[in-house]
Symmetry: C2
């Protein structure tokens, strides 16, 4: 009664916070109960939502029930259900209870830990959890705070790419003695590398014509050949250009290809290229000792990133970036305005993460990754990876035993078609949090049915 | 029993999701109940946390209770409590129940709406809510989807700045006919403009020496003089440089100064400068008709951004960016990889937000802003702004009536010192969600006591 009789506007009253939040928890739990029943891919047409919602904001407050009804009736039908066990498109975006709890605490505390003093726990937990994660991946100590490097949480690989490219760029421009040399800098990647690196290179001002796509092929599993990189680098040097940056991928988006890190690393050292390893997708798997070899040679890299928000049961968004020489990052990205001066920063005893990323503001994402790791433990995290791989192998076996079902291709409710090395392929990314073996079996049945129908149509 | 007897690892089981989430809700509600009791600024020393937590991740899963105990015992003491009603530092980061609910739904659905087809509702709700918000600010239709422009949600002003700077850069480089002209581009801001624009300009490859800080002074309320900008622009043109971009601020970080938008807008039109308005902080206030005049002249700008995650009861992170010619943004930022090709995109009937931002991945932030607006309604949102302003005016009155308490200055638990125009000031940002009048009165009492003590010390 006390709180109800108050006339004041109380947008963060603990009692209503608790009641309304629990109603939303029930709503989401119900969504998970039913997610399998929805068509994975929304069937709405462009513009569907503007026909259902008002054109302008309401003047008066609306009850939560009305809002949740609209979420149910208007939003859910327009979702592509990434958490459906039948979602096999793009890549997995693993939600988990632990990840959700971390997001709740992050949003609840709502601290803005741009530097140490603005919330010491946010900074320190992030450094600790980056070391935890780095150790799970058996990264050399040159990438850890416990050694001579360090790590940071970004929102996305592209953000990480922009930051390491800027660091590499600024180091090179300093050595070359002038900003006009920016037009000479060259970035190397394969034709399978995530397009985000091309975008990032252009964003930091490297001419798009200086981005080299090294050709890959089916015969080498779409992995990047160090010899082909060498030819491109030597060509550019001959032309008076300055090879700057090489991106190697562990688990490419189109096919999950793995570039040979050790071979590319030796080349990078020889030509003083900044080697970044993009392990966004498959990096998570390297916590399993039997899969760790994909990272062999990582000690030759300058930086490496991976996304727990893909295959590591961590809700969006969470990208780990480790760097061998954090000073190069902070030399490029640091700012020192009057308003943020403080004794902790002056003492140089602390990390100020604003100087490790694009933005000033940042969320307390470390809580999320910390809780994911603790709540599951390495044991269950490895179990998670291994059971997904077992399901993928089972599916691979289905395909291998079959013949000729390669001639149909449409974007569908479950998977996405793509062209890789001139070959039209159906991608199938197994590993959504809720996917179980019977979902994979059902997928194969669907594939067979669709292929059968198409082949029949052809005959007529 | 059914779910408990299963031996399978179930990281997203609806039952345990519900139980564990509700335990965390209780934890956060308890935090809000007690937040006033904590010292606003953490008293921990650098490195405090590594002494309390293990060096490596656990092998076995840990119970939620143990984790929450550590959050309570180890994390909370290391927080600077941005949600404390006694928080007056930096700027407000308004959490609210509505904002939290939106974050929960965003994290619960965990969809990745990088293009329309990957989750139509995420894209369409974002476009709708950007139009809602734009209308609340009475932006001209040239910034709305309902008109000829459009908007997008970013995580931060810096991200928005990087994107509009890249768009302006690429438009200019196209007109100038070659990437080597990047070294000629010049960006203008005042010495009060948020340092994020300087960082963003460097990030997109504009030489740091081409960033002009227009001097401001106490006498003109630290606002940027169009005449001074004109002098700088004309100087640069004479030197063969190319004036590119002008940033005007509505509510600067150091003092809340407002630049004269109309005057700067006319200048921008005359010299074909891209005018961006950074209304991150004070933009929220412009939903009140009596304060809307601060945006007069906005029709002359090319883009405008404001952060609901500051003063608009929206939990981190949420930055609105509106742009008059979205095509310039997408020309600069779009990518078209095989894996994302789809019929909706080909039809050009949809927005693909990946081409409006840095990253590919994106969270469904629109849910949050939509719920904040609906749950509060314009009526209560205006009430929120007006009551904060009333409290700030009350504090201003206290200061005005007092004399001579200007000679002490230390970073403290509640506010931050800064130097503005050579004057040492104590900043006090009133507007945390939970702040009430008696907190502001208590702050003034504390200021007086501290000043008194310092003056006494001086006498001795």
């Amino acid at each position: 009664m006390g709180s109800e009789s108050r006339k004041t506007f109380l947008p963060l009253d603990p009692m209503s916070f608790s009641n309304e939040s629990k109603a939303v928890i029930d709503f989401i739990a119900d969504y998970y109960e039913n997610v399998e029943k929805y068509p994975v891919r929304s069937t709405v047409e462009p513009g569907y939502l503007s026909a259902r919602l008002p054109e302008s904001a309401p003047y008066c407050p609306e009850p939560l029930d009305d809002i949740l009804k609209d979420v149910h009736d208007c939003i859910i039908p327009g979702l592509t259900h990434w958490q459906s066990p039948n979602f096999f498109a793009y890549f997995q975006a693993n939600a988990s209870t632990a990840g959700f709890l971390g997001e709740m605490l992050c949003s609840g505390f709502n601290v803005v830990g741009f530097n140490w003093v603005s919330s010491p726990a946010a900074t320190e937990l992030e450094s600790i959890v980056l070391d935890w994660m780095g150790k799970l991946l058996q990264l050399p100590s040159s990438f850890l705070f416990a050694g001579t490097g360090g790590g940071v949480l970004h929102g996305s690989t592209c953000e990480a790419a922009v930051c390491v490219l800027a660091a590499a760029r600024d180091k090179a421009l300093k050595e070359l003695g002038g900003w006009e040399n920016i037009t000479k800098l060259v970035v190397y990647a394969s034709d399978q590398t995530h397009f985000t690196f091309q975008k990032a290179a252009k964003l930091v001002g490297i001419p798009p014509s200086n981005f080299r796509f090294i050709e890959t092929s089916f015969s080498t599993g779409f992995s990047m050949s160090p010899e082909k990189v060498r030819i491109a680098v030597e060509d550019d040097v001959k032309s008076g250009l300055v090879p700057l940056f090489l991106c190697a991928t562990v688990g490419t988006t189109p096919t999950g290809a793995v570039d040979p890190i050790a071979g590319l690393g030796k080349l990078a050292v020889e030509f003083k290229l900044w080697l970044h390893i993009d392990a966004a997708y498959a990096g998570s798997a390297c916590i399993c000792p039997e899969l760790r070899h994909y990272l062999d040679g990582v000690e030759l890299a300058n930086s490496i990133s991976m996304n727990p928000h893909k295959w590591f049961l961590t809700n969006m968004d969470c990208c780990c970036l480790w760097i061998k020489e954090p000073k190069l990052l902070t030399d490029s990205l640091s700012t020192d305005p009057e308003i943020l001066k403080n004794t902790a920063t002056k003492s140089e005893a602390v990390v100020d993460y604003k100087d490790w990323q694009i933005a000033l503001s940042r969320r307390f994402r470390a809580l999320k990754l910390w809780i994911v790791i603790r709540r599951h433990g390495l044991a269950n995290l490895m179990h998670h990876i291994r059971s997904d791989i077992a399901m993928a192998k089972r599916f691979e076996e289905f395909v291998r035993k079959d013949r000729g079902s390669r001639s149909w291709c449409q974007e569908s409710s479950h998977w996405f078609a793509s062209v890789v090395g001139g070959i039209y392929v159906i991608r199938c990314a197994i590993g959504a949090t809720l996917t179980q073996q019977h979902h994979v079996d059902a997928l194969w049945k669907l594939v067979q049915e669709k292929a059968h129908t198409l082949l029949k149509e052809r005959e007529h």
